[in-house]
C-alpha cells in the first residue's frame, strides 16, 4: 500500500540536487518550527468548537435516521426516539416507489465513474504535460486554468444548458458527464504535484534508455503521481457525487436523476397536495448517500494526506 508514498519521498532529495527552476520558486523559507509545539488553550477550544460544528450535523443525521416519520415529529433532534427504525428505514428507502433509490444510486455511480474518473484522467495528462514539457503559450494556459478555478461551476451551468439544448444533449446522461470532465482545480493540483514529484532527471534517464514518451509516462511517471491522482480523484468524486445544480437544470427525466436530485424530489413530496410525506426516508437516504463518500475518504486517507502535503514540505 505504501510503496508509492515512499517512492515519492525518496524522489525529493534527487530533486533538490537538480534544483528545478519552477520548484525553487515554490519553496517557502524555513520557519522557526520547534520539535514540540506549544499547547494553546485558545486553539484547543477553537478546534473543539470546529469539531462540534462539523460533527453535530452528522450525529443528528445518524440519530434521525433511526426514527419513523412519527418519531421525527415527537422527539428532539439529538437523541433517539422510542422506536428504533433504522433497518426499516433502510429497507423502505431501497424499496420505496419500486426501488427508484437504487436507480438513482447507480446513476450517481455512473456519473462519478465516467465524470470524475474522466476528469481525473484528463487532469493527469494535462498536469503532467504542463509540468514537464515546455511549449509556447504555457503561461497563457496557466492564466486560463487559474481563471477557471475562480469560476464556480454553477455560474456556467445555465450557459452550458443553452449550448447543450441546441446540441440536443439535455435530458441525457451526457449532459451531466461532459461538463463534469473539466476540473481546472484538479488540473492545477496535478500540475503542481507533477512538478514536485517527478524529477526531470528521471525522465531524461528514461528517454536516454530509449523509452517512448508514452512508456515514460505510464511506467515511470504514473506510479510517482499516485498520491496526487488519489487526491484529485477524491476531489472530483466529491464534486460529482454532490453535484445538484447541473443535473437539476439538465435533466427532466427522473430515470437519469442522481441521488441529490432524487432526495430533493422526495423532500418536496411534503409540499404537494396529497403528497406522501416521507421525511424519514429523505433522512435515511441522505445518510446512505454520504456513507460511500466517508468510506472513500477513510480508505484512501493515507494517499490523499501525502498528496495534500506534496509541494508544501521540502527537505
Amino acid at each position: 500500500m505504501s510503496t508509492p508514498v515512499t517512492t515519492a519521498s525518496e524522489s525529493i532529495p534527487a530533486q533538490t540536487a537538480g534544483a528545478g527552476k519552477g520548484a525553487s520558486r515554490l519553496r517557502t523559507p524555513r520557519r522557526n518550527t520547534p520539535g514540540r509545539p506549544k499547547r494553546s488553550v485558545l486553539l484547543t477550544v477553537l478546534t473543539g468548537l470546529m469539531l462540534l460544528y462539523t460533527v453535530v450535523p452528522l450525529i443528528w443525521l445518524v440519530i434521525s435516521a433511526t426514527k419513523t416519520q412519527e418519531g421525527l415529529a415527537d422527539s428532539g433532534g439529538l437523541w433517539f426516539a422510542d422506536d428504533f427504525a433504522l433497518w426499516d428505514n433502510i429497507r423502505d428507502t431501497f424499496t420505496y416507489n419500486d426501488g427508484v433509490f437504487v436507480r438513482w444510486l447507480l446513476n450517481t455511480v455512473l456519473y462519478v465513474v465516467l465524470g470524475a474518473g474522466g476528469a481525473t484522467f484528463l487532469a493527469i495528462l494535462g498536469g503532467y504535460a504542463l509540468a514537464k514539457f515546455n511549449f509556447p503559450g504555457k503561461r497563457a494556459v496557466f492564466a486560463v486554468v487559474i481563471g477557471a478555478v475562480a469560476v464556480p461551476g454553477t455560474a456556467l451551468a445555465v450557459p452550458t444548458f443553452l449550448m447543450f439544448s441546441k446540441m440536443g444533449l439535455t435530458d441525457t446522461p451526457w449532459a451531466v458527464i461532459i461538463p463534469s470532465l473539466v476540473s481546472p482545480f484538479g488540473l492545477y493540483l496535478m500540475w503542481v504535484f507533477a512538478t514536485e514529484a517527478i524529477p526531470t532527471e528521471l525522465l531524461e534517464a528514461a528517454r536516454m534508455d530509449g523509452a517512448s514518451e508514452a512508456r515514460t509516462f505510464f511506467q515511470v511517471s504514473l506510479p510517482l503521481l499516485a498520491p496526487g491522482i488519489v487526491t484529485v480523484l477524491l476531489f472530483t468524486t466529491v464534486a460529482t457525487w454532490n453535484n445538484y445544480f447541473l443535473p437539476l437544470i439538465m435533466l427532466k427525466d427522473s430515470d437519469w436523476y442522481p441521488l441529490t436530485l432524487g432526495l430533493s424530489v422526495w423532500n418536496s413530496q411534503a409540499e404537494t397536495i396529497g403528497g406522501d410525506v416521507i421525511f424519514n426516508l429523505v433522512i435515511t437516504g441522505s445518510l446512505l448517500t454520504i456513507v460511500p463518500l466517508i468510506a472513500a475518504f477513510l480508505l484512501l486517507q493515507k494517499y490523499w494526506q501525502s498528496g495534500l502535503a506534496a509541494g508544501s514540505v521540502k527537505e
Binding site: A143, S268, G274
Partner: protein, 447 residues
C-alpha cells in the same frame, strides 16, 4: 503578473455578463391555431389507434389512474412525469412552450396559474372536444376557474379546495377554549390560547400568497379584475380592509407562529400542538394522514370562520386542472386521458386515494358524505367540505400573471410579518409591484 490577472478578471466578468444576458432572452409570440371540432367518435378512433401521452403532473393519485387507463385502452401508453411540482413545474412548462420543444400532451396547472397560460395561448381550448358539455358535472368554483369567464375551456378540473378550518381539538379542550365560528372569535381564541400556553399559537403564518388571496376572497374583496389584457388591481376595497383589520392584531401581538408552510417544522408543529388551527383547502386530510400521523385523533374539522355570524360564504384554496398545451402532439388522446381522470372512472379511483373531487355528483353522494375519517376521530368531515364547496363566494378571478405576483408576495406583503410594515401597506406595495410588472408584460393595468 498583476496586469495579466486583472485582464483575466475582466474577461471573466465579461463572460459572466454574456451568460446572464443569454438567460434573460425571452420567447417569441406565438399565434394559436384554431381547433376544429372533435367528435366522440373521433376520440374513440384515436384511442383505438393508440399512441403515447406524456403527462406532467405531480398529483399522486394519477399513477393508478394512468395504469387503469392503459388497461382499458391497451394501445395507449401514458408516460407520467411526476417529479416536479409548483414553481419548478411551471418553469419547466414555460421553458418547453417557449422553446417549442418537449411540450407535454397533458399538464397539471393550478387554478391560480391557468390565466397565465390561457392568455399567452399556451393551452388548447378544449371546448371543441366537447368539454363545455361537462359543465354541469363540476361545482361552480372550479368550472369558473377553468373557463376564466369565457366560452373557452382551458382545462378539466381535477380537484378543488373549498376551505374549512382544521383544528387540534386536544389543544382547544386542554385550554378550555371554544372553537371559533367567526374571525372575531378566532382572534379572541388566539389571545386566550397563547396566554394559557405560550408555546401554542392559533395558526402558523409567515406570509403565504395563496392563503392571503383566499382570505380576501372570503372577505368579499375582489382585488383582481381581468378583461382580456385589461387588468385592474386594487387592494383597497372594503373586503381587503376587513381582512387586514382582523389579521394585523394577530401579527402585532405575535399570535401567529412564524413557521413557513409545508416545511418539516410545520408538520412537526401541527403534530405537537404548536399550531392549533389550519384554515385551508379540503385536500388537506391526505397530508395530515402521512405527514402528521403522530397526532391522529387529535384533529377535527369545522367550517371556515365567518366574517359575520351566520354568514356561510367560503373561498377556495388550491386545486388544479389537467390542461392540454397548444403544442401537444396528441391532443385527442390527451383530452381522452384528462376526461377519464377528471370526469369518468378516474374520479372514483382518485377519491378512494384521498383526493378531493371537483365533481358535483361525487360531492353529493351519500357514500362520499358519510365517509368517516379515522384520523379526525371518526368525524364525517366531507359533509363540512361539501357544504363549503356549495358556498364558495363567486366572481373571484386571479391575475393572468398570478404566478409572478405570488413570487414577489414575500418581498412586499411578507414584510408585514417580519418588520413594522403594516399589512395594508404591504398589500399596497404588492399592488404597485404587480401593476408595474403587468404593464411591462404588455397588459394595461390600472390601480
Amino acid at each position: 503578473m498583476r496586469r495579466k490577472t486583472s485582464r483575466l478578471l475582466r474577461g471573466i466578468a465579461l463572460l459572466s455578463a454574456l451568460a446572464l444576458g443569454a438567460t434573460a432572452c425571452g420567447g417569441s409570440d406565438d399565434e394559436g391555431s384554431d381547433q376544429k371540432p372533435v367528435s366522440a367518435s373521433d376520440l374513440q378512433a384515436a384511442l383505438k389507434k393508440g399512441g403515447t401521452v406524456t403527462v406532467w403532473a405531480w398529483e399522486p393519485t394519477l399513477k393508478s389512474v394512468a395504469a387503469d387507463f392503459e388497461k382499458k385502452y391497451p394501445k395507449v401508453k401514458i408516460n407520467l412525469v411526476s417529479e416536479r411540482s409548483g414553481d419548478k413545474h411551471y418553469t419547466a412548462l414555460s421553458n418547453a412552450i417557449e422553446a417549442k420543444k418537449g411540450v407535454p400532451d397533458v399538464a397539471q396547472v393550478e387554478y391560480f396559474a391557468l390565466g397565465q397560460y390561457a392568455l399567452t395561448k399556451g393551452l388548447t381550448d378544449l371546448a371543441p372536444f366537447g368539454a363545455e358539455k361537462l359543465k354541469d358535472k363540476y361545482t361552480p368554483g372550479p368550472w369558473n376557474a377553468v373557463t376564466q369567464g369565457s366560452d373557452a375551456v382551458w382545462g378539466l378540473p381535477m380537484d378543488s379546495g373549498p376551505m374549512a378550518m382544521f383544528y387540534n381539538k386536544k389543544v382547544f379542550d386542554k385550554n378550555k377554549i371554544a372553537v371559533p365560528t367567526t374571525w372575531d372569535e378566532y382572534v379572541e381564541a388566539a389571545r386566550k390560547l397563547h396566554k394559557a400556553d405560550p408555546k401554542s399559537f392559533i395558526a402558523a403564518d409567515a406570509g403565504d400568497a395563496g392563503f392571503t388571496t383566499s382570505m380576501l376572497w372570503q372577505a368579499g374583496s375582489r382585488p383582481y379584475k381581468v378583461d382580456g389584457t385589461k387588468v385592474k388591481i386594487d387592494f383597497s376595497d372594503a373586503g381587503a380592509k376587513k381582512f387586514t383589520d382582523t389579521w394585523q392584531p394577530l401579527i402585532d401581538e405575535k399570535l401567529l407562529a412564524p413557521i413557513t408552510g409545508w416545511t418539516d417544522d410545520w408538520y412537526k408543529g401541527l403534530g405537537d400542538g404548536t399550531i392549533a388551527t389550519l384554515v385551508t383547502g379540503a385536500w388537506m386530510p391526505a397530508n395530515f394522514v402521512t405527514g402528521v400521523a403522530n397526532a391522529s385523533g387529535d384533529w377535527r374539522v369545522a367550517p371556515m370562520p365567518a366574517w359575520t355570524k351566520g354568514d356561510k360564504a367560503t373561498a377556495e384554496n388550491g386545486g388544479s386542472s389537467l390542461t392540454v398545451p397548444e403544442l401537444a402532439k396528441n391532443k385527442e388522446l390527451a383530452y381522452a386521458f384528462a376526461k377519464y381522470a377528471n370526469a369518468e372512472d378516474g374520479v372514483q379511483t382518485r377519491i378512494k386515494q384521498g383526493a378531493f373531487p371537483a365533481t358535483t355528483a361525487e360531492l353529493q353522494s351519500q357514500e362520499f358524505q358519510n365517509t368517516k375519517f379515522e384520523y379526525f376521530g371518526g368525524q364525517q368531515a366531507n359533509k363540512i367540505f361539501a357544504e363549503s364547496a356549495a358556498n364558495v363566494a363567486d366572481d373571484w378571478s386571479y391575475l393572468p400573471f398570478q404566478q409572478y405576483a405570488n413570487s414577489i408576495f414575500n418581498d412586499t406583503v411578507g414584510k408585514a410579518y417580519v418588520s413594522s410594515t403594516k399589512l395594508a401597506d404591504g398589500l399596497k406595495a404588492w399592488q404597485d409591484a404587480s401593476v408595474k410588472y403587468g404593464n411591462e408584460q404588455g397588459f394595461t393595468v390600472e390601480k
